[in-house]
Each structure stands twice: as C-alpha cells, then as structure tokens.
C-alpha cells in the first residue's frame, strides 16, 4: 500500500489533501467534521483583526464550470476565532490559520494571534479578488508581497504560507518575492476575478458585482501556475484550484505541489471528496509503482515532451 503521508515545512500530514480557505471552515465543529471525512489538514476561513459581515447576498452564482463567489471575507475577528482554533486543535486536527489584514502591520498582528491560538501554520491571504483594501489589494505586486511576508515572518514561529493571486501577469515573480520575504511555502491559486450578469434583470448577479471564479474551469490555470512556481522557487508549493478527483490532485502534484487544497468540490461532491481523492491517489501510486507522494512531486518537469 502506498504511503500518502507528506512532510510540509516540518508538518507531518497523513495525506496531501487540505480543506481550502473559505469553504466550510467558519466554525470549529464543521472543520472537525471535514477532517473526520478525510482531509489531511484544514485551512480556516480568512480571519482579520475585527469582525466582518461580508458582502450582501447574492454572494454565489452556480455555474456549470464552477462557482463564482463574493462572500466578502465574513469572519468573527481573531479574538473570537482563537477559541474556534483551540477547539479544532483539541480534536487533534492539523489546522492552518488563514489571515487577512488591511496593512502589513495589521496582517502581521493577526498572524501572530493566529499562531498564538495554536495554528500549526499561518496562511497569508494576499489574493482575495473581491474585498476592498484586503487580499489582492495588498498582494498584487512583488514589492508588496515581499514586504508583507517579511513583516509577518518576524512575528510568527510556525511555518508561514503566502497564498498568491493568479490575477497577475507573472505569478512566478510573486512567488519569488514571497520566498525573499521569508515565506516557508506558497499557495496557488486563489480565485480568478469574474462576473456573471442576468440579462433578464439587466445587472450583475452578485451584490458585489464581481467575484472570484473557482472550480473545474480554473484547474488548467492553477496547474500552469504551480508548474511555473516550482521552477521559480526552492520552497514548497501547495496547489489549489478546481481539484475534485485524485487525477486532478496528481496533476498539481506532478506540476510541483507538495500538497493540495480542495474548496469548490466540497459543494459538488460533499466532504467525502477528500477520502475519494486519497483513494484515487493511492490506487494510482500502487498501479504506477510510487511508494510515497514525494516521489511524484514535480515529476512532470523531468519528462518534458
């Protein structure tokens, strides 16, 4: 039987799948349920210094190619959320705390509180495409990414991940900047900025007008981003975007991802998707003669057509 365990920046994960930030992770009880359903780790909802209600409804548009969302980063604030993190930790679940901030100092302060609450790693969300003053707005240039990562790195002892936006001309440049700033891993990709219009209502459907596209439609973009980043940096890459089967996850792993995150597929396939992805990967490894996941990481780079 293949070993699905992976080592990510010193964290030992029982399998390479994690719940992506923003999906079924606002409450401790839900995160624990998702971990029980098979996720190797959970990434929390992105949390900031103070509570946010998020955008008005409609905040999702269901598409046949994926999902368009503008939740608007609703979160209860880090002080309240620390108790949720502690409750998840008490159940023995590996938890990565996603954080947001309006400036590098605020982000670093939230990151420090997230680590103090017991998060096993901290993920900086530098890539939400639809919240004013947060996300992409502090992570769209290499200079910003480097500065922001450095500020947080000084305040956090646990591994620091930088989650990058694909809404840029060169994600490799952002990844290099994150590495220079001291990030221990990069996460790619967040959603792509998009819009859906109702012709009948003559207006964009999302209350926020534009939002982030996720799901199967963005997988080729995510795989390409991870492939490029793997060539550009030494630190590990975590792949995310449109993964719903083991084969999808293997694309990311062979492009260079050490681990993967799954968000939108929880909508289409339920929390059971994690176990199903792991079973697929395990069968593949047995059939193709891989004994550990690490042997497949970046494998597609060795055999260029």
């Amino acid at each position: 039987m293949a070993d699905l365990g992976v080592d990510l920046c010193g964290l030992r994960l029982r399998n390479p799948t994690m719940l992506a930030s923003g999906v079924l992770d606002e409450t401790a009880a839900t995160m624990v349920e998702v971990a029980r359903a098979g996720a190797g780790a959970v990434v929390t909802k992105s949390v900031g210094m103070s509570p946010r209600e998020g955008h008005a409804n409609p905040c999702v548009v269901e598409l046949d190619v994926g999902l368009l969302n503008a939740m608007g980063l609703p979160n209860p604030g880090i002080e309240y959320f620390s108790e949720e993190v502690k409750a998840v930790k008490r159940e023995g679940v590996t938890v990565i705390g996603s954080v947001i901030g309006g400036s590098e100092d605020e982000l670093a302060a939230v990151a420090a509180l997230m680590a103090a609450a017991g998060a096993d790693a901290v993920e900086l969300n530098l890539s939400c495409p639809h919240a004013k003053g947060l996300g992409t707005e502090i992570g769209s240039t290499p200079e910003d990414v480097e500065r922001v990562c450095r500020a947080s790195k000084e305040r956090v002892k646990v591994p620091l991940f930088a989650k990058l936006t694909p809404n840029t001309s060169s994600i490799s440049n952002l990844a290099r900047a994150a590495e220079r700033g001291g990030a221990d891993a990069v996460v790619a990709i967040n959603t792509l900025k998009g819009m859906a219009i109702s012709p009948e209502a003559r207006m964009p459907i999302l209350a926020n007008r534009f939002g982030g596209l996720s799901g199967p439609a963005i997988r080729p973009i995510g795989v390409r981003c991870v492939y490029e980043i793997h060539d550009a940096v030494e630190i590990p890459v975590i792949g995310v975007g449109g993964i719903s089967t083991g084969r999808d996850a293997l694309e990311y792993i062979m492009a260079g991802a050490t681990a993967v995150q799954v968000g939108t597929a929880v909508w289409t396939r339920g929390p059971g998707v994690f176990k199903s992805i792991c079973d697929d990967i395990s069968r593949f490894m047995d059939e193709y003669g891989y004994s550990k996941v690490d042997d497949m990481v970046g494998a597609a780079h060795d055999t260029r057509p």
């Binding site: 079924l24 409450t27 999702v60």
Partner: protein, 254 residues
C-alpha cells in the same frame, strides 16, 4: 429568473407568490429567492409541483421589496435545495407555528393524498394571522387552531394543544415547523413519548449550497443536511434553542 404568476395577501404581513413554472421538490425543501438589486434569501416552498410558490412574512428590506412585485415581474430562483420531510406511518401530527405553515402545508397535501390521516395544529398570534387553515382542511386534514390571544380556537401556544392531542391519540410520526422554542418543546414531548419526529430549522443562510458555513449548527448545515432534521439529530444539537451564528460567524443567543 421566473415570472410571478400570482401574488396574494394571506394576512396583513404574509403573502404568497406563485410562479408559472413547475418545480419538482419535496415538502420541506427551500429555494433561494433573489430580488434583483436588493437581496437574496431562503424561502420554503409552500406549493410544490405545478405553479410552485412561496409564502413569506414581511420582516425586513428583502421581503418588503419582494412584497412589491407585481404579476409578470421577474424574481430569481435557485434551487430547490436541502432535505425535505419524509412521510412515514398511517397517522401523523403536524404542528405549525406562524410562518412554519409554509413548508408544512405541502406536507399536509402530500400526506393526505397518500391516504395518511393528518391532524394539523395550526398556531398563530391571533386569528388574523392564521394561514392555510382552509387549504389544509380542504386537503383532508383535521385542523386544530390555537392562538396566543384566544381570538380563535384554543388560547395559548401550539405546543399545548399538540401535547393534549398526543395524550389522546397515538401518532406514527410528528412534524414541526415554527419558532425554535416550539421545536425544542415538541422535541422534548416526542422524546418522552418515544415518538419519531422531524422538524424544519432556520439559520442565517448565505450560499444555500453547503460551502460557506454560515448556517452551521454543531457542524451540520441547515442548507444541505437540513432544513429538516429528525429527532435523533435534533437531540444531538447543543446549539438548538440556545445560540445561532450572526452574519460574521459569531455565536449569539437566540
């Protein structure tokens, strides 16, 4: 987007909106209703099948804007979503408080059509706020009315009337929808009596499709695991009747 076929007042604060279209849904399932430019919110389906419909109380900006829609206007509908009621047994008791009659009226329709004997306890604040009394009677249910102020039927809460019916007659199953304290009270009665029960529960809902965690209840989700839960699950909820999440995800007292 669907066109409004009919929009009528049930009470001064409650309206029913029906559409030309059919929706294949189970009683207890809900749709997300989009009033363009205003809001999108969950509403139980009060008429399933042909010319499906919703029945709603006007409580805030979204429902106020919806109440202004005229016949022929367009409204966005996503769904149907969630787990509805399942009809089991030969004799059932349905307990509906206030707007709780919206998902339970189609349950009464479906159960009577199947030949199940239905007793309905219909509770409201006053006689002016009773909805679907004649609809359910016409479907063949034996309707028992209670009003908080005694203006019609038995004075008091629906739970009082329901528990006296349960003492008199054996039911195979009990169904409840209404204020949360009514649901928890019915759950207590059913547990003591060993009666199977299903209830429809509400929480603040954003996505409606099981991704955002806004409607979480002890790790379950009202939009995908519910809104109808059975007694076994209701008893496991530590938050039911006590707390709910606000729009930021903080637990607040009910």
């Amino acid at each position: 987007m669907l066109r409004v076929a009919e929009h009528r007042d049930e009470t001064p604060w409650t309206k029913t909106m029906r559409f030309k279209d059919a929706v294949d849904a189970r009683p207890g399932q809900f749709v997300m209703v989009w009033v363009p430019g205003v809001d999108e919110f969950p509403m139980s389906i009060s008429y399933v099948g042909d010319r499906f419909g919703i029945t709603y109380q006007i409580v805030g900006d979204g429902t106020k804007a919806l109440s202004k829609a005229a016949e022929g206007d367009i409204v966005g509908i996503r769904g149907p979503f969630g787990r509805g009621f399942s009809i089991t047994g030969k004799r059932i008791l349905v307990v509906a408080g206030g707007a709780g009659i919206a998902p339970t009226a189609p349950l009464v329709d479906a159960a009577t059509k199947k030949g199940v004997a239905v007793r309905l306890v219909l509770g409201a604040k006053s006689s002016a706020e009773l909805v679907f009394e004649s609809r359910c009677a016409a479907a063949g249910a034996e309707v028992h009315v209670s009003t908080d102020d005694g203006s019609k039927g038995q004075k008091g809460f629906a739970t009082g009337l329901a528990s006296s019916l349960i003492e008199k007659e054996r039911y195979d199953s009990v169904y409840a929808c209404g204020p949360e304290r009514m649901i928890t009270a019915m759950a207590d009665i059913c547990r003591k009596r060993g009666l199977p029960m299903q209830a429809s529960v509400e929480r603040i809902m954003k996505c409606g499709i099981g991704v955002c965690d806004s409607c979480a209840l002890d790790g379950k989700h009202v939009c995908t695991d519910g809104p109808v839960f059975d007694l076994e699950q209701l008893e496991k909820f530590s938050e039911l009747g006590k707390t709910r999440l606000d729009r930021t995800g903080r637990k607040t007292g009910i």
